[in-house]
Structures are given as structure tokens and as C-alpha cells.
């Protein structure tokens, strides 16, 4: 359904998307998971014909994205990362505008609009101006609008960014239903690992414009091998020296302020970890055990957390605070 070959996008000398290739089957939900600035939106924009690739190409539904733009555009529906509704129009008018742009005949347009507005539970609000809508309602309207012309491929760029957990769950349910009932091929980008994990048949982990792993969420997590234990301590080096000698730890990796261990049956070994470090006079500030997540996969592959950037911002703000107080 979608074939991407060596797709590359450079902005001046900055490479935003670096030679990526992958194939997506019909009916699949495919995820692009990566941190801020990884190149997810740039990739989607190229596939949606809004941005011209620097090199490489892709075919959607058999049509080349650079030479057959109109056919590609007819085949796809897209929910952009940033808002794209006309706030001065009503929900119905936004839908109607879209239907007309895609040259849908009047009766089909009307029927589909009311069907889709009910699907996203906005039928009662169809004549309200969009500027009176909440973030979640807008998102639902954008999803309904992008589906109006019955696209075969559906792009969702960060569909639940900034939404509360309840709305997020709601949107996940729509996406799953769409995929099952209408057999639409879906590509979604996200930097929420739960989202990728729950929705996607396959996930491409993308970092700095490159795809660094691509598989089903289960297989990606299996690669980690065992449970993940995270230890926080002020003496990372001491702890690392101590624990790296331990045979039953499959994998150990020091980070800035914490260590991650991978081991089987972690519950049984915790006591021993604590005992080992306290006999060596190393304080452990906190311990947590969890099943591997895609976050652990990302951490293992890059040495960074997906959400690290956000932590960075927080640190910088704290710094500024300190500077201000002198």
C-alpha cells in the first residue's frame, strides 16, 4: 500500500529525514515513534505531497508522491499535528467545505457528514462554531473531516498530543474501530510509547531522521530480554562497578543519575541488589521494576529517553530561576 524508498529531506544543511525506507501493508496500523524533532512530521508531509523530498521517493496506493500528486491526494486523508480547522465556520461547514473540495456529490456528502459526525459524537454540535469547541472536540472533528472522502490511507500526526487521558482513550477507540470496520491503512506518528504500543501492528522507531528499529511492539520489547529495573543513586559509578560483576544481570547500562538493569524474575533479585549495594556502602535512592516498554527499547538503542527533551526544558527553566535569584 505504501512503499517508501530512500526518502530524504534536507533543510539547508540540516538533514531532517535521512534516507528512510519501509513498506506498509494494506489494513495495517503503522507507527512512527520518536522524540521531538525526529523527523516524523517531515516524513508525513512528504508522503502527503505537501513537502518535496530532497531525494528518494514513495508510492501510495501505487502512485508516486512526486509525479502523481493528485491521485495520491485523493487516496489519503490526513489529521495534521497542528490545528487546521476554520474556527469561524461551524463543524458542519468545515465538513461541507472539505466534501466540496474533494468534489463529492451533494447527497453523498450530506449523508457521509452526518454519519461521521455521529461517529465522533459531534452530531448535536454540528451547527456550533468551531471556536467554541474544546481541544478534544476539535481533534474529533478533524478526524471525521479527514475521513469524509473515504481515503484508503489515513495519516494521523500526533493524534492525541496535549489531550487528557480520557479523550485520548476515546480517540484510540475510534482509530481501532476505523481500522477494523473500514479496513483503512493507518500511519500515525507519536512520541507516546503507550499509544504506539496499544495501536500499532508495527512500529518504526525514528531518531534524528533515521529509522533505528522496525518491528511489532512485542518483538521490539522482547529484544530487551527480561524485566527492567531502574535504580537511582548518587553513586552511579560505584553501583555500576558493583553490579556489572553480577552474573544474573543480563544487561546493565549506566545513565545520568540512574542505572537500568535487565534481568529475569526481577522481584526475587531485588533484595539481593539492595543488600549488595548497602554492604558496599552505596545508597540507592529509588528502585522500580517494570515489564519492558518501547521507552526501554528507545533508551537501549539511543541512550536517551524519548521524553528527554521535555526534561531538558524543565532543567533549563530551573537554571533560569536560579540565575534570577542570583
Amino acid at each position: 500500500m505504501i512503499e517508501v524508498e530512500n526518502l530524504t529531506k534536507k533543510f539547508e544543511d540540516h538533514v531532517a529525514v535521512d534516507n528512510i525506507s519501509f513498506t506498509i501493508e494494506r489494513g495495517e496500523i503503522f507507527g512512527l515513534l520518536g522524540p521531538n524533532g525526529a523527523g516524523k512530521t517531515t516524513t508525513i508531509s512528504m508522503l502527503a505531497t505537501l513537502l518535496k523530498p530532497t531525494s528518494g521517493t514513495a508510492r501510495i496506493n501505487g502512485f508516486d508522491i512526486t509525479t502523481h500528486k493528485d491521485e495520491v491526494r485523493k487516496s489519503i486523508g490526513i489529521v495534521f499535528q497542528d490545528p487546521s480547522l476554520d474556527e469561524e465556520l461551524t463543524a458542519y461547514e468545515n465538513m461541507d467545505f472539505h466534501g466540496r473540495l474533494y468534489r463529492m456529490p451533494g447527497n453523498v456528502r450530506e449523508r457521509m457528514i452526518s454519519e461521521l459526525l455521529s461517529l465522533v459524537e459531534l452530531a448535536e454540535r454540528k451547527n456550533s462554531l468551531v471556536k467554541t469547541f474544546s481541544g478534544g472536540m476539535r481533534r474529533r472533528l478533524e478526524i471525521a473531516r479527514a475521513l469524509l472522502h473515504e481515503p484508503e490511507v489515513f495519516f494521523l500526526d500526533e493524534p492525541t498530543l496535549g489531550l487528557d487521558p480520557q479523550t485520548r482513550n476515546h480517540i484510540w477507540e475510534y482509530i481501532e474501530r476505523l481500522n477494523k470496520e473500514k479496513e483503512i491503512t493507518i500511519i500515525l506518528t507519536t512520541h507516546y510509547m503507550e499509544e504506539a504500543d496499544r495501536l500499532c501492528d508495527r512500529v518504526a522507531i525514528i531518531d534524528r531522521g533515521r529509522i533505528i528499529a522496525l518491528d511489532t511492539p512485542e518483538r521490539l520489547k522482547d529484544e530487551i530480554g527480561g524485566d527492567v529495573v531502574t535504580l537511582e543513586s548518587r553513586d552511579i559509578e560505584g553501583l555500576y562497578a558493583q553490579l556489572s560483576k553480577t552474573a544474573w544481570i543480563e544487561h546493565i547500562e549506566p545513565h545520568d543519575g540512574f542505572i537500568t538493569l535487565t534481568l529475569h524474575n526481577a522481584e526475587r533479585h531485588i533484595a539481593e541488589i539492595v543488600r549488595l549495594s548497602s554492604t558496599n556502602g552505596i545508597d540507592i535512592d529509588s528502585i522500580s521494576i517494570h515489564k519492558p516498554t518501547l521507552e526501554d527499547v528507545f533508551l537501549r538503542l539511543t541512550g536517551r529517553r524519548i521524553r528527554e527533551e521535555e526534561a531538558d526544558i524543565r532543567d533549563r527553566m530551573r537554571m533560569m530561576h536560579r540565575l534570577h535569584r542570583g
Binding site: K69, I76, P83, S84, L85, D86, E93, H98
Partner: protein, 251 residues
């Protein structure tokens, strides 16, 4: 083709009709000009070589001004569409940019025409001394439409080159106001010194103003046929320019 143009046009009209405060707001300046200059200077200023009083003289100028400013603003509106993301929705649809551009231009020109027409009606009520014929009104309307089309397209051309609204003030001060100021909307171009007069003659709006003045007041310092040719040519040129620049707009 026309269905898409109509769709885009319709959106523009809906937005216009819904923004009562913007309609009223953009009538404020022309009304102010009309009342202050018209009544204020009516008894003091005489137009050389004409029986026309000053009020009757500037009404066409103020109508042209209204149409011009409204259309430039509606053209520049696509910057908002860019910033609020709505432009992406249009650009990702299987329609050509020419269709989008023409729909925007017609939409902007329509709203600008309505604004100009409101001023025209108001000026009739406050007694501009016009006794224009039906054909005179039609001639004036034709020029209003041409000003509307050309300056909306001009606004779109500018907006296609602008990243955000930061450059807007610059464009207003160094492009739009000079075009208005030099157009002979407020004073007869005959009475200007020669060098300034040639400047007014390269200003396209001059021909729009003169065309409307010919229609409403029956007086014009430029041959009305010449005005028509210049305005028609300017309209085609700006639409071509707007189309080319809009085609290369990046989001």
C-alpha cells in the same frame, strides 16, 4: 474548476458576513474621511475648472480607498490561514493552486465591493451632490470590481512571500499607503507639480479612482477608456503574479 472556486469563494463570504465587527470596523476610516474631509473642507476647497464641490470630488476617492484596503486585507488573510493551519487543509486536497487562488481573489473582491458599495450608499444619503445615471453607477461598479480583484490578488502575492504578520506594518507603510496617497483620491492630480504628477500616473489606483469618479461625478482627469485599459491590465498582471507566487507558497 468553477465548483472549487465557488467553494473557496463561499467560505470567504461566510466568514465576511459573520464578522460584523470587522465590517463595521473597516468602514470606520472611510466614514471618518468622508465626514471630516468632506464636510470639513467642503466650503473651503474648490476644484479648479469644475463646478463640483469637494464632497462630490472625494466620495469616489473614498470608495476606491475602501475597496482597495478591504481587498488588500482579504488577500493578506491567507497569512492567517497559514498560521492557523487551515491553508494545509486546502493545499492537501486534490485541487490546483490556481483554483484556490481564483476562489480567494473572487471572495476578497466580492467583500471589498460590498464594503465600497456601503460607502457609496451612505454618501448618497449624506448628499454628495451626485446625480449619476444608471450607466454611471455601472461604470463606477466596474472599476470597483477591478480594484477589488487586482488588489486582492496583490495581497495574495504579498502574503505568499511573507512568513508571518511581522512584515505587515512595513508593507502597509511603504507600499499600501503610498499607493493610496498618490492616487489622487483626495486631491486633483492636475494641480500637482509635474514630477509628482508623473508619480501619480504610474500608480495603478489613480486609474481606478478616476474611473469611479468618471462614473459618479462625470469628471475625470484621465481618459476613462485609458483608465479601463490600465485597470484591466493591472488586474490581469496581479492575478498572474499572485498565481505564480501562491503556487510556490511553502507551509
Amino acid at each position: 474548476m468553477m465548483d472549487i472556486v465557488y467553494t473557496i469563494w463561499l467560505r470567504n463570504i461566510k466568514r465576511y458576513l459573520r464578522s460584523k465587527s470587522r465590517i463595521a470596523g473597516s468602514l470606520g476610516m472611510p466614514l471618518f474621511f468622508l465626514l471630516v474631509l468632506g464636510f470639513g473642507l467642503n466650503s473651503v476647497v474648490r476644484i479648479p475648472g469644475s463646478k463640483q464641490d469637494y464632497m462630490g470630488f472625494i466620495v469616489p476617492g473614498i470608495i476606491a480607498m475602501t475597496v482597495m484596503f478591504t481587498s488588500v486585507f482579504s488577500g493578506i488573510q491567507i497569512i492567517w490561514d497559514k498560521q492557523f493551519g487551515f491553508l494545509k487543509e486546502t493545499l492537501v486536497a486534490p485541487v490546483s493552486r490556481l483554483e484556490i487562488m481564483l476562489g480567494q481573489t473572487l471572495g476578497g473582491a466580492t467583500t471589498a465591493f460590498i464594503q465600497g458599495f456601503i460607502i457609496l450608499v451612505i454618501s448618497l444619503f449624506i448628499g454628495s451632490g451626485h446625480h449619476a445615471t444608471i450607466s454611471g453607477f455601472l461604470i463606477a461598479s466596474l472599476f470597483m470590481v477591478l480594484i477589488g480583484l487586482s488588489f486582492t490578488a496583490f495581497g495574495i502575492a504579498i502574503a505568499s512571500k511573507m512568513e508571518d504578520m511581522h512584515g505587515f506594518q512595513l508593507i502597509m507603510n511603504f507600499v499600501i499607503f503610498p499607493i493610496f496617497g498618490l492616487s489622487g483620491a483626495l486631491f486633483p492630480i492636475d494641480s500637482l507639480p509635474g514630477w509628482l504628477q508623473s508619480l501619480t500616473l504610474v500608480d495603478p489606483l489613480t486609474y481606478g479612482v478616476e474611473g469611479i469618479r468618471y462614473g459618479l461625478a462625470g469628471l475625470s482627469m484621465v481618459n476613462p477608456f485609458m483608465s479601463l485599459v490600465v485597470m484591466a491590465g493591472f488586474t490581469l498582471a496581479t492575478i498572474a503574479l499572485g498565481t505564480v507566487l501562491f503556487r510556490n507558497i511553502s507551509i
